[in-house]
Symmetry: C3
Subunit: 127 residues, 3 copies
């Protein structure tokens, strides 16, 4: 089990953590990497790591689907972030072989910040 710290800089942000994760796990043993973020207002997502507009479109679509300015019952101002986090999920599994993550050509791993800026943890376990 290892842990990385991810500092986000904005209220809402798709922070690319692919390179850092690849560095941490390179050469290790295992056949799957489990990644987990122990928070309730961010998430972990695998999607396109080429055109940054894809992440902008994803974040904007989530905001249209779950608007920040709706009169939610939870009064801390971040109910929308809890809902987005629930839709994206806090846990992902990536195939791993010969000491390397087996991501697809266009895939990257992102910490999806929905209530930043904050310092977030990502816990990794090689199985």
């Amino acid at each position: 089990m290892f842990e990385i710290i991810v500092k986000t800089s904005n209220r809402v942000e798709a922070k690319n953590i692919t390179d850092e994760l690849e560095r941490v796990v390179r050469g290790k043993d295992g056949s799957i990497l489990h990644l987990y973020t122990p928070h309730t207002t961010c998430g972990l997502l695998i999607n396109e790591d080429a055109d940054p507009n894809v992440m902008k479109d994803i974040l904007e679509a989530l905001e249209r689907i779950v608007p920040g300015n709706y009169p939610y019952k939870h009064l801390e101002g971040n109910a929308h972030a809890h809902i987005k986090s629930s839709m994206i999920g806090c846990s992902i599994m990536v195939p791993f072989s010969e000491g390397k993550l087996r991501l697809g050509t266009w895939q990257g791993i992102f910490l999806m910040e929905f209530d930043g800026p904050r310092e977030r943890k990502v816990i990794g376990t090689l199985v």
Copy 2:
């Protein structure tokens, strides 16, 4: 592999199963707990276990996004529950170490009932 039975009491409900799961796995060996619900109209979700309004906001947001009263093709009256279940997912993985679930401070584990009340199964596997 173990199994717990979760009885839900309402049509739609976020049933907190954290304490029961912690009791079942305490002291066991493993580095990740896989939880799985073998149904198609409920889901498993990790999110805030402090203010119950967060779960109310999540359930209400899902109902706005996927209204129960839309004219769906599936004629059993629970198409919306299948769709919500697909968005939330039926499977989660939680880090486990020293015989304990490594949930974040605010995280709890919920069975999300979208077509209750029913008796639901949750299958757990420690890896």
Copy 3:
């Protein structure tokens, strides 16, 4: 680790891959099957494998939530497919015992194509 190729026939499609997966893993050792698709415009979903209208309702609901004809920033015409893929996810875990997938009675495994027709890979790992 094994790999199967899934050929999709339409722009948007829920392709049932349950039987093929069951054939591939039958009799093998392991307690969980991890399935992963290394693409960014499709997903993997477990839901009802009885009435095909359920998958139609799921695909149509996703299209209402994330319309294909919105003016997205990503200019390749498939931004909606990236967003749907992010909501459904590219990775699932299924309990496995005595050489068989432990799916629920009504559950099947589907490759959700959001930008086809294409040839897609699904990577499986028994843990």
